[in-house]
Amino acid sequence: MAEIRIFGIRHHGPGSARSLRAALDGFTPDCLLIEGPPEAEPLLPLAADPGMSPPVALLVYRPDRPRSCAFFPCAGFSPEWVALRHGLAAGIPVRFIDLPQAVRLADGFPPGPRPPEAAAADAAAEPAIERPDPAAAMRRDPLGELAQAAGHADGERWWDALVESRGGEAGDVFGAIAEAMTALREAEPEGAEPEDAAREAQMRAGIRRAARDGFARIAVVCGGWHVPALLRHDARGQAAADTAILKGLPKAKVAAAWAPWSYPRLAASSGYRAGVLSPEWYDTLWNHEGRVAARWLARAAALLRAADLDASPASVIEATRLAEALAGFRGRAQPALEDLDEAALATLCFADPAPMALIRRKLVIGERLGATLPRSAGTPVEVDFEAQCRRLRLKPGAEAGEITLDLRKETDLARSRFLNRLRLLDIPWGTPRHARGRGTFREAWALAWQPDWVVELVAASADGGTVAEAAAERVRAKARGATWMAELAALIGTLLDADLAAASGDVIRALDARAAVSADVFDLMEALPPLAELARYGSVRASDTAPVLALVRGLLPRAAAGLVAACQSLDDAAAAAAKTRIVAVSGAVALQEDPDLTSVSRDALRALADQEHVHGRVVGRAVRLLHEGGALTDAEASDHLRRALSRATGALAAAAWIEGFLEDSGTTLIHGRGLLALIDSWLCGLSQETFAELLPLVRRTFATLAPAERRVIGEALARPEGAGAGDGLPGATFDAARAERVLPILRLLLGPEPAAWEKTSEATA
């Protein structure tokens, strides 16, 4: 008959891990059964490799739907990890006996009336299932609950005290835990949790199978909560009952992989429900048996000194004394985290909470990031990701940092593309620090890696074999789902940044197709400026922008054709929006310096300027754009102005017109004298009554200009030569020979790409 011992542990408890290590050394089992997903068994030998550095997590996911997944994090101080390493070192079989994730991740599990999203969320949070009732708290951290009942704030400390005070044979502790859990679970109704019932049935079956396989000394490591249920493994009739529970459970296909994990993710504050409050503190407890207080406080002082705060060794001594006094005071053999925390606050930080936040982040929660073996990466996208990271010398790390890329350099350009592709895969590893400024070759990124993005990498495998393919496919899917052309235009921008030429072709075709059938001129106009910007400046990143330019050439005439019709019957807010779009598109057209496009745009504006019943704000702006662009002479513009502000128009419409005509015109009025002269001569030509009538309207519009602008305009008008003294600087003529001289410098600034600057210089010349 096999000897079977069941060790109830506390997940991620260093005290638990320590007594488990001692117990396993004493028991020398020939088979080790651990509460864990059996699908991960083929991966277990990797845990013995020195290249695996906890915290790491076992990831079990559905390849057909990688977002349905479960993580099983392990820190160096997690009892499961300690048991696993013990088993691998001793060369004995290690089996994971929990209910397969194939079942737990399957649709329709657990059986019973539970909303599907709750089931999905729970699956990720092994082993805790959170409910806001006391029974749930009990299940989550039964030892913690017992500790609180005994008047201890910290279950881990209570556990340590329990272990230490008992001394002697560690097995006694596990017996005591079994007893305590039995008492806690007595009140629980049978089958209250169908998922737990199935898991415990499966674990009992696993124990019986190990016994049948002829092992003589079987150690079972499971959460303390399950101990009473597992003790019944050989009860009469239990085997049949378990078979009945496990019969007919749904199943899905799953895959498993190791993934690096981090202490912040292990912390309960990160939302991980089986998490612990203080991973780094537990790490210290696990790695250093004695003198923990002095070590921890010395590290705190070093941390403060690194942050340029005073923390002398003398203060560390005093803090240690205070911590030990507080511990003695509270009846503890050695200081707990709360004692150290309070001692550090009173002595090292002079009761200032700000440095304490630093200590809590670095020394209570910690920032340690685990590492897995490169070959343990499972899916093709993960493999590609790791290869790219190596090639581009980017290292996923918890430490946030900032990099500046020079896009003229091959590697930096590749890095920028890689980060952009990852963003398309919902992995915002890098966040661009500045708004897109294509005039510059520098691009700054803030990097901060989150270990659970591994899930996104796995999920990306559904869309393609490499990061690039998956990103392209994601964009195609988004393009298919996009309802607005503006969305599609933004997608094209990201595609060029990520250098996904194939997908950008698809998106451009989608955009073109949508433009052909779309009746919404304003949507079209909103898509135009970003596209025009891309077409003009995209070559900076060595992307091929010819298709984008073609697209702009196709879209603008469509927008121009529908403009007048779209501008009918606008209310004030819609008119303001329409005006903004018209201005943006005009700017975009000016950027292209393409005579065809310019004439298309001019014709449309001219048609708009002649409209009688369109909102004044739009018409007024159209007239000004035409005047600024040289399409209307001063006299013509003046005619428009007079007509729009004649007495028959009505004050409201006139006010809107003059607002459209003059808003945001401060700089133009100051530097381009034409407009100012126009207004000036118009005002001076008004009859006295009309002037009195119109004055409030003009004042109202001028009031929107900045005071400094108003002052400069007033000064210009007050000068003897008056407002109409001519355009620009007197005698300013363009000297091509002198202008040529700056070109070498411009070439340096703008980069070696000849097309980009030569186009500019031709236009300038």
């Binding site: 005073d310 003398a314 205070l322 006094a325 009173a346």
Partner: protein, 366 residues
């Protein structure tokens, strides 16, 4: 009672060790834990004295500090490890009160006190001279006039320094030798006064005007710092006001009925809302006046109201008796604070149906 009566009953205010002599005696008698040298009771008993509790003998210990027990544990543990204690807090958070009771419980006297002011000199901290004796007999120990700190060192007791940051920086420096060497040199006599075991120092400082004479880092390093926060919850604050008002009523022999819980709740609510700048339900913002509006001021407002009710009213605390006191506590700056108070009355008080009596009274007076 004759005018020269100096017995305890005639004194305006009793020191902590006199007012709570019975509790201290009971605690000492019941205490079987180890005591640090020269302490009258164990650290645990000191915490019990401060936080209240009951003894096996049945004697009840009244709570002196209503708030976080952990803070008192840190304070007592600090003193037990012969580190000096610095209590920080905004005015009216019971810093001096805690300091007095700590000293009373630990060494039986809270009177070895230096009141820190801008004019506090080194003599007040170290020692002065009896000049008549000095001239007559020359320098000798007899001619030395000991400061409270020096006496505490000689006897192994707790010295208290009130308002440490109001003392000029160069005078503050005198504490550095005392705290690090635990001795007070008298270079004129080539002598020194070594501190006996049990000597320690409790300083209080106001961290609202911390910058008056900010402690040097050398001095700061010699203190463990504990910040006493304003009361966490309205219930805690009401409990503080109730207990202190009752005690004051006894001390001043005010022949009024104890105030109703509702009135105290109202005063405390107003104080908390103005102090925190937000109404109790968290729904509306309130302008904050320039004063601190501490719990201590709330106590004095209620006490003042009681006195008004007793001597000029019918002995029952009425709304009118409170209103003028509250207005006076809030309006410290006659222009800005008056606006704040008026706005509070109109936007918050007026909207509360069961506060209409208060609103009317405030309108009449204001």
């Amino acid at each position: 009672m004759s005018p020269t009566d100096t017995s305890a009953t005639a004194r305006l205010r009793l020191a902590a060790e006199e007012a709570f002599a019975e509790e201290i005696a009971a605690l000492c008698a019941a205490d079987d834990r180890p005591r640090p040298p020269n302490w009258r009771m164990s650290p645990q008993a000191v915490v019990t004295y401060l936080m209240g509790g009951s003894l096996p003998s049945g004697a009840a210990i009244s709570p002196k500090y209503i708030g976080d027990r952990r803070l008192m544990e840190i304070a007592v543990a600090t003193l037990a490890t012969d580190r000096a204690l610095l209590l920080l807090g905004v005015p009216g958070t019971a810093k001096s009160w805690v300091s007095e009771h700590l000293a009373a419980a630990i060494c039986g006297t809270s009177r070895l006190t230096v009141q820190g002011t801008a004019g506090t000199s080194e003599e007040a901290i170290r020692y002065g001279w009896n000049y008549a004796l000095l001239l007559a007999k020359g320098p000798s120990r007899d001619a030395v006039v000991a400061s409270p700190v020096m006496r505490a060192m000689e006897r192994g007791q707790i010295a208290r320094v009130e308002e440490l940051t109001r003392i000029p920086s160069e005078t503050q420096d005198s504490f550095i030798t005392i705290l690090s060497e635990k001795t007070l040199p008298i270079p004129e006599l080539n002598d020194e006064v070594p501190a006996r075991k049990g000597f320690n120092l409790i300083a209080t400082a106001n961290n609202r005007d911390r910058g008056v004479n900010e402690l040097s880092s050398a001095l700061k390093r010699r203190f463990n710092t504990v910040v006493l926060p304003p009361p966490d919850t309205i219930e805690a604050e009401i409990a503080i006001v109730e207990s202190r008002v009752a005690a004051l009523g006894r001390a001043f022999e005010i022949p009024a009925q104890p105030p109703g819980a509702d009135e105290i709740r109202r005063v405390v609510t107003i104080f908390r809302e103005l102090r925190e700048g937000v109404t109790a339900d968290g729904k509306a913002k309130v302008k904050q006046p320039s004063g601190t509006l501490s719990t201590a001021e709330a106590i004095s407002v209620v006490g003042n109201g009681l006195a008004l009710a007793a001597h000029f009213g019918d002995g029952r605390l009425a709304v009118r008796d409170l209103v003028s006191g509250i207005g006076g506590a809030v309006v410290k700056d006659p222009v800005q604070d008056a606006i704040v108070w008026r706005e509070y009355l109109e936007t918050v008080v007026k909207e509360r149906p069961d506060w209409s009596d208060f609103y009317r009274a405030a309108r009449e007076i204001g």
